[in-house]
């Protein structure tokens, strides 16, 4: 990091704090503090929705994912635009008309208090764990890249978020999300242009696409149906639809964004914009990763992208073996580079047969490079623990730190900080709102005045922020559990979505049947998770968990309602 980078990073962080405080001033009641007085225009709603979903991991891990696994991850977002349309038609008008503060408040209007409490409890548990991870995951990466103590990084991120959220509430959150997404998009566009500019002379963008495609990185759409395949068209369009419906329709951190809309129209337009912009945005970030991959075909990458773990292994008893692997890596890389040049020449002047032969030779050479990398990762895992053996999250930042010019490194790091804060602030405000409206105001103190609830709201926001920071300090000790926490959302979304779909579409469904559907669904999904991840009895892509959870809610609720109707001598509802 050079002086200019520190200046860019420092100024960006300061501008976020001051902008948040400035935009959030004037909230005098909880409607102003928790719903921004419902005065947001569609573009603020849209940007806030997108910034909330795009966490720092999106910008650090996604390019790395394209580097290692290709661009097939984009298929995960295919269900999202469909979900936006469904939510515009169903959820938005209902939530607006009832004037609710949380999505779960609607469930009491529709069913009863126990269903509301169950669903808000599920949200608090799942999002509470997620909020800690939102701060922890980027803090680890930034600490490694900047050489900072993780306690400093997580406290800095969490501290800034606490300052502007407790000061300005949701108005500050939405406006800073807007500002943060602009910073992020600008930074990523500049990084993309620079990556293309850093390619060797004579290698243009189209050549780069040929290299990426020839080496299997442009695997954007796969129509084959395979339940164990994480990312294909079907898991994306069906599983992705369920995940998006659950996330945007039942997760308060997203529902709160469009509840702040000035009208149903403004909220709907926010979701529509998200539906149109999300897939191209993810494509662009993945393409950036593919271009970084192409760059590293001409420039030798490190054997392992996490510099701290790499240095630790070199100093350990496995240091000698690791150094030998580094030498082997250099040899196989040079061989691959020669084959790459042959492939590019064949593309320009050779016959289709020669191109095919050169491509096969190049792919074979790449597999040898991958084998050496896999061996290095295995040594890191054995020496430093399983969580250390994955360097995907470090690929993009490692490239940025080493090759981008002064100023741009600071800008990209500012993007990562901004992305962390945009997600974290929305989560804190949602957790605080749910704690206040669904728990405190509903069950603990029902007769408080506006000032009391406003003060408690500020304390709750700060409290959840401190919790996030403390979680981040100790999450390192969780080891491989961190991966499980990442999948946590999919374990709860199915149940929540099932309950909301019954509320929207099954007019005669009762609260008790829905409640038991929710309970059985949650137990079933957690049981399946234990069978898959702990007992290793089968393999199912996590994208299918919400589908299963939702299905169980429906099946059990219909069964319970059917039985009670038969007992009462009524017909089964539809």
């Amino acid at each position: 990091m050079r002086t200019l980078d520190w200046i860019v990073l420092g100024l960006t962080l300061l501008s976020i704090v001051f902008y948040g405080i400035y935009k959030g001033r004037g909230s005098r009641n909880i409607k102003g503090f928790l719903l921004a007085d419902r005065q947001m225009r569609w573009y603020t709603v849209a940007f806030s929705i997108m910034a909330t979903q795009a966490s720092a991991i999106t910008f650090t891990s996604t390019p790395g994912q394209a580097y290692t696994d290709g661009m097939r991850f984009v298929q995960y977002y295919f269900g999202l635009p469909i979900a936006m349309v469904i939510l515009c038609v169903t959820a938005v008008p209902i939530f607006h008309k009832l004037g609710v503060f949380t999505a779960y408040e609607y469930l009491e209007h529709r069913f009863d208090v126990k269903t509301r409490t169950l669903t808000s409890a599920i949200f608090l548990v799942s999002r509470g764990l997620g909020a800690g991870m939102t701060i922890y995951a980027p803090s680890v990466i930034l600490s490694v890249m900047l050489g900072w103590d993780i306690r400093l990084t997580s406290t800095l991120i969490g501290g800034i978020v606490i300052i502007y959220t407790t000061s300005g509430g949701v108005k500050a959150v939405n406006w800073t999300d807007f500002q943060q997404l602009l910073i992020i998009m600008f930074g990523m566009c500049v990084a993309f242009v620079m990556t293309i500019a850093l390619l060797p002379k004579g290698i243009g963008f189209v050549d780069a696409l040929h290299v990426a495609g020839g080496m299997g990185k442009l695997n954007l759409v796969d129509f084959s149906f395979d339940l164990s395949n994480k990312y294909n068209f079907w898991s994306g369009i069906i599983g992705g639809l369920f995940v998006a419906l659950a996330y945007f329709g039942t997760d308060q951190s997203q529902v709160q964004r469009y509840l702040t809309g000035q009208s149903i129209t403004q909220s709907r337009l926010g979701l529509i914009f998200n539906g149109m912009a999300k897939v191209p945005m993810q494509f662009f970030i993945l393409l950036l990763g593919a271009m970084v991959f192409v760059f590293y075909q001409f420039e030798q990458p490190p054997l392992f992208f996490n510099p701290v773990e790499s240095a630790n292994v070199k100093e350990s008893s496995a240091g000698k073996v690791y150094s030998l692997l580094e030498q082997q890596h250099a040899v196989v890389f040079r061989e691959k580079e020669l084959r790459l040049r042959t492939y590019l020449e064949a593309r320009k002047s050779g016959s289709p047969g020669q191109v095919e032969q050169a491509q096969a030779s190049l792919v074979e050479s790449q597999s040898r490079v991958d084998q050496v990398h896999a061996e290095a990762a295995r040594i890191v895992r054995e020496t430093r623990g399983s969580a250390a053996g994955n360097d995907t999250n470090y690929i993009f930042l490692s490239f940025v730190m080493k090759y981008l010019p002064a100023g741009l490194v600071g800008l990209v790091l500012a993007c990562i900080f901004a992305a962390t804060m945009s997600s974290s602030s929305s989560e804190l405000s949602a957790l605080a709102t749910c704690s206040i409206v669904d728990v405190y105001k509903r069950h603990v103190k029902t007769d408080g005045d506006e000032t009391h609830y406003l003060n408690i709201s500020r304390i709750m926001m700060a409290g959840w922020g401190v919790y996030g920071i403390v979680f981040a300090q100790f999450a390192g000790g969780l080891g491989s559990l961190v991966e499980a926490v990442n999948i946590m959302g999919s374990l709860f979304y199915g149940t929540m979505l099932g309950i909301f779909l019954l509320a929207f579409y099954f007019k005669r469904m009762g609260g008790t049947a829905t409640f038991w559907g929710g309970v059985v669904s949650q137990v079933t999904v957690l049981g399946l998770f234990a069978l898959e991840y702990i007992l290793k009895m089968f393999s199912l892509s996590w994208l299918w968990y919400p589908v299963v959870g939702c299905g169980v809610v429906f099946a059990v609720a219909l069964l319970v309602d059917g039985i009670s109707n038969l007992r009462a001598g009524r017909s089964i509802p539809a």
Binding site: C88, P93, L218, N219, L220, V221, S263, I264, I272, F283
Partner: protein
Amino acid sequence: MIEKSDGQDSPLFFKTWRRAYIVVLSELVILILLFYFLSRTFQ
């Protein structure tokens, strides 16, 4: 019922909600086709 209740302001350049939804879903179809042909062209 839902469509009629939202008479506060129009959905900008989409003019009607039906058109807005068709635009979103059409864009998705076009993107999927584009991705498919991009993969095929540069494989």
